[in-house]
Amino acid sequence: MALIKLFANLRKLAGTKELSVTEETVGATLSALVEQYPSIKDVILDGSELRPHIVITVNGHNVTDLNASVNEQDVVAIFPPIAGG
């Protein structure tokens, strides 16, 4: 199973920092996530598209393609819009 890690206000909205999923793509992983935690859907998705400024990494590497594969033992990190300096 892959591990999803949530950050910033996604934690508060979902009420958890992380969860496990068995999906095989980033897009399917997000679908499973918002199905389980509907409160975060509007923050990260606009319909079936990622909202601007949402950052997703798989094993620490940025991913923008929702068809990118997710394998067992992968860590998928999802960040809402964040900024700083």
């Binding site: 400024h53 950052v55 620490g60 990190a77 819009p81 900024a83 700083g84 300096g85």
Partner: protein, 593 residues
């Protein structure tokens, strides 16, 4: 004249005299204000023969034509000098309220030269300039001085140094409004070298606006833009800058234990999420700022502003420390002593590595949160081990024969972002005119956050163009002077419209960014004149040769050399990193050669 006040105040502390003269408006058009105007004035005033801590160095405080107008974040000021830390041109800018109040005194720039025989503080109040004896203030800490001199956010504002500046620590900050800092590069030491403890400003003059109706509309539109951006309306207010801790750790670009690793196992414990959940009291804002990224944090021992991401990293991951209350407390201590938190934390980390490897005889060790506050205290007073650390990591590491363990560029300690996992950020550090700094440009938006678009962080070819655009943009924004966070909701070119509405001087499309390019090239010329060459455009050997052995940046080192060659070419400089006559002519700088 609108926007600009049109006057410069020039104070000589050696004679306790001052004069005022008109601002050269052609100079103002070309360099605007803030950092740009400061660099242009410094070019004429301080040459290579001047020791940064001698009376011949100057402090140039500048505001800009937008300052005090009420435009969003128009609260900042800039201080320009020759850096005692790096020997380069230095400008450090700061928010809060002082910059707005300084503008209300009716000056665009304040030049402070010479040296007072005795400690002194300057009061600029409603057209009167008064030199006060500061013997009773010398030795006092920042918070006490700020209160004693009558800080009142909207009416009377105090800028001062703490013991670190008095003791000429080359990493001393100038503090304003109690907890805001013009921190980097040691401007506090220059102020201390002049026996100048504080500058208090109180004024009534209002900035005039060329086209009030248009300005009012732009103000309204900017409010809407900032409210519409999730970055400026949600991300920064809700979690502050420390929210970057987890993402930098996640991608393997969080410098750890003096850059020996790129991930910190204790990152979660010092994250923005942790700070918000357990220690945040409330948000706060600088003058005229709708964003409100400032954190007011509280532990059992202290309550105050911060800490910001870089400060939390410097005393946290860089020192191998995951004790957030200790970090909040040492951040507050740095503010009270007047020390740059990034340089202080990274210098302690350097000392920890030197000690662990047996090069320095001290008990400093990574992970020892209990050592932070006593070490910082000792640095500000140059006592015990602090005397060794007070002038930054490069001087410390060089003294003990291991300059390579200073994680600095041009002698200034680098921020949190490890260049091995962020190729563009490495080029940015190496070419920064004031040394290792993330405020001369910041590639994190492009290389990590996708702002405005994601660029492969390991990409080398073509990266220089992004870095240059970033540097020029930041130089322009620093010359207005407004907060760079505004730029997360409002595009660069929009600021040219605001500038036009305020001053009546119209900046065509691209001209504001070209002004930033002019400022950058002028700063480069200054450094070239000081003897800086391409050999100084580099990074610590660790970042060029030692690849991380695990994590997402595993196997990568900074590919600086090819990026640097491309950078010089794209900048229109020769292979020695010197701006060509053609480039200087294009920027209107040919007369400086």
């Amino acid at each position: 004249m609108n926007g600009w006040s049109g006057k410069i105040l020039d104070i000589d502390l050696s004679t306790k005299t001052y004069k005022t003269y008109p601002l050269d408006m052609e100079m103002a058009r070309m360099f605007i204000g803030g950092r740009g105007l400061g660099a242009r004035l410094l070019w004429d005033l301080v040459g290579p023969e001047v020791d940064p801590l001698s009376p011949e160095n100057v402090l140039i405080f500048t505001n800009g034509p937008l300052t005090g107008t009420g435009y969003q974040t128009s609260n900042r000021f800039s201080v320009t000098t020759k850096s005692p830390l790096t020997g380069t041109v230095l400008d450090a800018n700061s928010g809060g309220f002082w910059g707005m109040q300084f503008k209300k005194t009716g000056y665009d720039a304040l030049i402070v030269r010479g040296k007072s025989e005795q400690p002194v503080w300057i009061e600029i109040k409603n057209g009167e300039i008064t030199f006060h004896d500061a013997s009773d203030l010398w030795g006092m800490r920042v918070f006490a001085v700020t209160e004693k001199l009558g800080q009142n956010n909207n009416k009377r504002n105090v800028l001062c140094i703490g013991p670190a500046g008095e003791n000429l620590s080359r990493i001393a900050a100038i503090m304003n409004d109690r907890e805001r800092a013009a921190a980097r590069g040691g401007p506090g030491a220059v102020m201390g070298s002049k026996n100048l403890k504080a500058i208090v400003v109180e004024g009534k003059e209002r900035a005039t606006i060329n086209d009030p109706e248009k300005f009012k509309f732009l103000l309204y539109e900017t409010k809407k833009l900032l409210a519409a951006s999730p970055l400026t309306s949600q991300a920064l207010p809700e979690f502050g800058t420390v929210v970057l801790m987890n993402i930098m750790n996640n991608i393997g670009a969080l410098a750890t234990r003096n850059h020996q690793q790129t991930q910190f196992e204790g990152a979660e414990a010092i994250s923005g999420e942790e700070l918000t959940e357990k220690y945040l009291v409330k948000n706060a804002s600088c003058w005229a700022c709708p964003i409100g990224c400032t954190r007011i944090s509280k532990t059992e021992k202290v309550e105050g502003e911060g800490p910001e991401f870089e400060s939390t990293w410097a005393f946290g991951a860089q020192c191998g420390i995951d004790d957030l209350p200790a970090i909040i407390e040492v951040n507050a201590l740095c503010n009270d002593l007047g020390l740059d938190t990034i340089s202080a934390g990274s210098t302690i980390a350097c000392a920890m590595e030197l000690s662990e490897k047996g090069y320095l005889d001290s008990d400093l060790r990574f992970g020892r949160a209990d050592q932070l506050a006593p070490t910082v205290e000792a640095m500000a007073y140059r006592k015990d081990i602090g005397a060794e650390l007070a002038d930054g990591s490069l001087r410390l590491a060089t003294k003990y024969g291991h300059a390579e363990l200073s994680m600095s560029a041009k002698g200034m300690e680098m921020p949190a972002y490890d260049p091995r996992g962020l190729q563009g950020q490495g080029l940015l550090y190496a070419t920064s005119n004031r040394g290792g700094c993330h405020m001369r440009g910041n590639m994190i938006g492009l290389e990590v956050l996708g702002l405005p678009k994601l660029v492969d962080r390991f990409q080398v070819q073509g990266k220089s163009a992004f870095v240059i655009l970033n540097q020029n943009s930041n130089a322009a924004i620093d010359s207005l002077v407004i907060c760079k966070f505004t730029n997360m909701g409002v595009a660069d070119e929009y600021f040219a419209r605001v500038l036009g509405a305020v001053t009546g001087v119209q900046y065509a499309t691209g001209e504001l960014i070209k002004t930033g390019e002019r400022v950058w090239n002028l700063e480069r010329l200054y450094n070239n004149r000081e003897g800086f060459t391409t050999e100084h455009d580099t990074l610590p050997p660790r970042l060029l040769n030692e690849a991380p052995t695990d994590g997402p940046s595993k196997g990568w080192v900074s590919q600086l050399e090819p990026m640097l060659k491309e950078y010089y070419r794209t900048r229109g400089w020769d292979q020695n990193g010197v701006p060509t006559p053609k480039k200087l002519a294009d920027l209107g700088l040919a007369n400086l050669m």
